[in-house]
Amino acid sequence: MLNIHYFASIREIVGKDSEHLELPSGASTVKDLVEHLSTVNPAFKSLVDSEKKILVAVNQTVADESCMLSKNDEVAFFPPMTGG
């Protein structure tokens, strides 16, 4: 199962902080996962369609949409970081 996390403004828009999901068949990359989430969650789709910048981390390392996913990966979506 993929372990998906949402943070900050993304968490508020999506309406949950995490979820477990089987990697959909035929899906192998972050881009595929984003497409899948957009079809099952209208709030997530609205986010992807907006101008908002979304970052993704796979197993706690920032990744891009071509990153390959394995079935037990931890994937996180969040806005640009504002530490310090």
Binding site: F7, A8, A57, Q60, F78, P79, M81, T82, G84
Partner: protein, 158 residues
């Protein structure tokens, strides 16, 4: 040594710990960031800040900060490094972050501390939500923070 915590910290204690870390310490530089009382970021309107709420990605935060500190230690002859970043609810005037560096000489200590702060701003998974009397909003990343990183990356390329 890295701490992500809700509790406040005592800057003087941290300086004394850096003094005792050993090595031929000639310089200790510390930076402390505070929660500002006024927000003049949006539309040049000044609003009184009631409080901030700091969210983070537990696990990734610690890993990211460790990577940043390790990178600083490969670039400069740092003897000891200390990073404290607070999370949760913070009021105006509260200490929010502290970076402390001990080194043989001041230039290395200043540079390493500034490098770590610049990277903490946009490469460690923290997010700030600001509450005023009227509303609340997520603080957005600033172009100047990205520029600050570019400076170190350009140095790297030389």
């Amino acid at each position: 040594m890295i701490s992500i915590q809700t509790d406040d910290f005592d800057l003087n204690d941290e300086i004394q710990k850096l003094r005792r870390k050993g090595g031929d310490t000639g310089a200790i530089v510390t930076f402390t960031g505070l929660v500002r009382e006024f927000d003049s970021h949006k539309n040049n309107q000044t609003k009184a800040v009631k409080y901030l709420h700091l969210e983070h990605y537990s696990g990734m935060t610690e890993k990211s900060v460790e990577t940043i500190v390790e990178e600083a230690m490969t670039r400069w002859p740092v003897l000891a490094a200390r990073v404290i970043h607070r999370i949760g609810k913070l009021n105006p005037g509260d200490q929010i972050v502290m970076v402390g560096i001990s080194s043989g000489h001041r230039k290395d200590a200043f540079d390493a501390a500034e490098f770590i702060m610049d990277y903490l701003k946009s490469k460690a998974p923290f997010w700030k939500k600001q509450y005023t009397d009227q509303d609340s909003h997520w603080i957005e990343s600033r172009e100047t923070d990205v520029d600050a990183l570019r400076r170190w990356q350009d140095l790297n390329a030389k």
